[in-house]
């Protein structure tokens, strides 16, 4: 593999006029997000690590008063970015996108159905996954079996909040899951409500990046739960998270003439 850093640096600074670059860099044997100003050495850029740079972007953005920021983004990150732009949290005009197509292996790991960014700069477009095997199995189960499955899974939760901390679209600083207004049980594990409320909150913005599942130390199949909720959202309202135009159906009125009563 030739060094993607050069190409990314060229795209970001020379071709697209960025002032900064946000990318994943390896340093001293550790890979992590790196924020590089124009003119600095970009170092050893890695594109094979599924890191959600948008999460970092969202966190540093309020402190960036000006300048254009180039970000290396996968399709899922691109969608997350769109969700943030739609909500006015990030100004899209200040972001330069460098599209990264995921590898076959990465697509498989995420059971990803939508792996190709709108503009591919790095990597070659792979084919999306059709279906998440586990969610298929769960759907085939009886309600009781499904409940048993999830109760067993959620019992493993040690309430570390890695899922929400690393989520690119979890935008709140103060999370209701840290309090007991809705989640009653104090202590660990936190019970079903914790995970259901998270599912509901993410229903109109989750991009299936899989970061929650990857970062879960208890190996709860959270990405499967996300995919199931997203499918519901699509079935009910034809809504898919990730573009800047469509407003969440949960916030808008029903279609049709307001003068007419819904026929039921």
């Amino acid at each position: 593999m030739n060094d993607p850093g050069k190409e990314i640096s060229r795209l970001a600074f020379d071709e697209r006029g960025a002032d900064y670059l946000l990318a994943v860099r390896e340093e001293y044997g550790n890979a992590g997000p790196a924020f590089v100003a124009k003119g600095e050495d970009v170092g050893d850029i890695r594109t094979d690590i599924p890191y959600q740079l948008v999460t970092i972007l969202r966190k540093i953005y309020p402190y960036m008063e000006d300048g254009k920021i180039a970000v290396v983004i996968r399709r899922c990150e691109e969608k997350a970015l769109n969700e943030l732009i739609k909500r006015g949290i990030i100004d899209g005009d200040r972001i330069i996108r460098i599209g990264l197509a995921c590898s076959e292996g990465q697509i498989e790991a995420c059971r990803c159905t939508d792996p190709v960014p709108s503009c591919v700069d790095i990597g070659s477009p792979g084919k999306g996954w059709n279906e998440d095997q586990l969610s298929k199995e769960l759907s085939a189960m009886s309600s009781e079996e499904r409940l048993d499955f999830w109760v067993a899974q959620f019992r493993k939760c040690n309430k570390c909040y890695a899922c929400s901390t690393n989520c690119p679209v979890c935008v709140c600083d103060h999370c209701v899951l840290e309090e007991c207004t809705f989640v009653a049980e104090k202590g660990i594990p936190p019970g079903m409500a914790f995970h259901l409320i998270r599912a509901y909150h993410l229903s109109d913005k989750c991009t299936e990046c899989g970061e929650c599942e990857r970062s879960c130390p208890a190996h709860i199949p959270l990405l499967t739960f996300r995919k199931m909720t997203n499918r519901d959202m699509k079935d009910l309202y034809g809504y898919e998270s990730g573009d800047t135009e469509t407003v969440s159906p949960l916030l808008t009125t029903l279609e049709g003439d307001l003068l007419e009563e819904e026929e039921d």
Binding site: R87, I89, C172, T181, A184, H201, S248, L251
Partner: protein, 564 residues
């Protein structure tokens, strides 16, 4: 620690004969935060209220819970009693154990008693977390603006001025009068329009309270009830002023027929407006054919524009009156002469020789040009055959359509328009001259095609609605509004989109982006609260902690029962 007092009502036999009130009182006494629990035969009677007030004072109660009937009728009464005893009226919680318990479980005394306990436990849980609230007030600039100087707008303005209220009239044309400038006589009583408009104009022109802006339009508008900022372009210059209320009276206009019935090709095929002009000039034709419902009441434009039949009846009679031998035919689909005088006009027209023929939407009249006019072939539903008629002129009765620029006005004022482009009032039945946005009102044909008398009545109605906050000098801001915890708010914008009243906007406070509720516009529905993911948005009197505590109380109860 709040000191809660619980008062359980027997309501004579209504509650007492089903629910064991004494038992419930004993139960209430041991609930957390309850300082005192008592019962009354009728809590709402003078004696009942007196004993509650006495108990509030003697037991130094912070919060009052009454378990009785429904808050929908009795809450104001108990709130007043709380206030009289020195407790903020929002530190009161009503538990309904009559409509929602004793009356609907009349045969299950024990179960009803248990349910009453649970309901009271829930009420006490919420009450313990209540906080005092206060209705706010905002001052109102004692000036009104009327957009549109037609009959509806002029009436509204003249009424406001005559009530002593300073009023701006914003008219886009170079003179006042609107559509009536082109109509000399109006039906059904054949009243001349010129003196009508002239007197209204004179009323305004001689009053120092009236400001007339001709050739003007609004370019910017901000603010809310009591305090709107308006910028208008008046000819070449711009003017700013502030008003407390706005009346929209932009009217409607006659639809210019497209390529139907030979309009534009056959010179004797004219519009109703053109006929008005000719009749005003004294030129009555010797024969005329009116075609009703031109380009309306059909797919694409389904509505009936209400006034055209009566306009035709008026003009048909004007022709007959000036020339009793004139042949006048009205081709119609239904004659819409509703009410008293219009129906008499219809009768008079029939009796004076105007012939009325019904045509169906599926077989519209066909027109061809003739040397001295036009001839019309129409399928006569009564005779069940095609017949031919000729007339010196053919008058097309087209509908009133929405005014040019309605979409822009709607956008500036943040008010809705319906699918036909007419403004959409707050409630089609009971709030015909109001918009959902407080302080903005609507009248005349901008809302729906209306007769002159209807426009005048609506103009007066809008003037009344606009005058109410101005006369009061202030508007009361609901106590039960939404409020944002700025510290928590993640500025995700959900609430802004969810609010049915556009009462929330994004702002920056101390460098932090966050939502802001405009309390003057908030109606306290709580839609935004449910949309907020992290509890930053709260509805006063219905906070998530308060409702959460109610749910907790029921959960606790059902767990205890399970243990039993």
């Amino acid at each position: 620690m709040q000191r809660v007092g619980v008062f359980v009502c027997h309501c004579g036999h209504n509650i007492g004969s089903v629910v064991d009130v004494e038992k419930v009182v004993e139960y209430a006494k041991q609930l957390e935060n309850v300082a005192v629990a008592d019962h009354n035969l009728y809590s709402c009677s003078e004696e009942g209220l007196g004993s509650i007030k006495k108990s509030i004072r003697e037991n130094k109660l912070d919060v009052v819970v009454v378990a009785a009937c429904t808050p929908r009728t009795h809450e104001p009464l108990f709130r007043r009693a709380c206030e009289q005893a020195g407790v903020n009226k929002y530190l009161f919680e009503f538990v309904n154990i009559r409509e929602h318990c004793s009356w609907i479980h009349a045969k299950e005394k024990e179960a009803a008693t248990e349910k009453a306990k649970r309901l009271i436990a829930m009420g006490v849980a919420k009450a313990s977390l209540l906080t005092p609230q206060k209705e706010g007030e905002a001052s109102v600039i004692p000036v009104a603006a009327v957009i549109g100087g037609g009959i509806a707008g002029l009436t509204a303005a003249a009424s406001l001025v005559s009530q002593g209220i300073e009023t701006h009239v914003i008219e886009k044309e170079a003179r006042l009068g609107g559509l009536l400038n082109n109509i000399s006589v109006i039906g059904p009583e054949f009243v001349e329009t010129e003196p009508l408009i002239r007197r209204l104009k004179e009323d305004l022109e001689r009053s120092p309270q009236a400001h007339i802006h001709l050739e003007s339009r609004i370019v910017e508008l901000g603010g809310f009830i009591g305090n709107f900022d308006i910028k208008i372009a008046e000819g070449a210059k711009t003017t700013d002023f502030k008003v407390g209320a706005i009346i929209v009276a932009t009217g409607g206009r006659e639809l210019e027929p497209t390529n139907v019935y030979g309009f534009g090709k056959i010179p004797t095929v004219i519009t109703q407006m053109e006929l008005e002009k000719r009749l005003a000039g004294g030129a009555a034709p010797s024969s005329a054919i009116f075609i009703q419902c031109v380009e309306c009441r059909q797919p694409g434009r389904e509505y009936c524009s209400r006034i055209c039949c009566n306009v035709t009846l008026k003009n048909a009679l004007r022709i007959i009156r000036s020339n009793p031998n004139a042949r006048v035919t009205v081709l119609h689909r239904d004659i819409m002469s509703y009410g008293t005088t219009a129906e008499r006009l219809y009768r008079e027209a029939s009796e004076s020789g105007v012939s009325f023929m019904r045509y169906g939407l599926e077989s519209p009249p066909k027109i061809s040009e003739k040397e001295d006019g036009a001839s019309v072939e129409v399928f006569d539903e009564t005779l069940n055959e095609n017949i031919g008629i000729s007339g010196e002129i053919v008058v097309l009765a087209t509908p009133i359509i929405s005014q040019e620029g309605t979409a822009e006005t709607a956008k500036l004022l943040k008010v809705p328009a319906d699918k036909n482009g007419f403004f959409l009032e707050a409630h089609v039945k009971l709030r015909p001259v109001e918009f959902a946005t407080d302080g903005v009102f609507i009248c005349g044909s901008a809302r729906w095609p209306s007769h002159v008398t209807e426009c005048i009545a609506q103009g007066l109605a809008a003037a009344a609605k606009a005058a109410i906050p101005i006369r009061g000098g202030k508007v009361v801001i609901e106590a039960i509004t939404a409020e944002v915890d700025v510290e928590r708010c993640a500025a995700c914008g959900n609430c802004v989109l969810a609010c049915p009243y556009e009462a929330i906007e994004m702002t920056v406070i101390d460098g932090k982006r966050c939502a802001k509720v405009n309390e003057a516009q908030c109606k306290g529905c709580g839609t935004c609260v449910a949309a907020c993911p992290n509890d930053a948005m709260q509805q006063k009197g219905f906070t998530t902690r308060q409702l959460g505590a109610m749910i907790d109380a029921l959960i606790k109860n059902c767990k205890e029962e399970a243990v039993e």
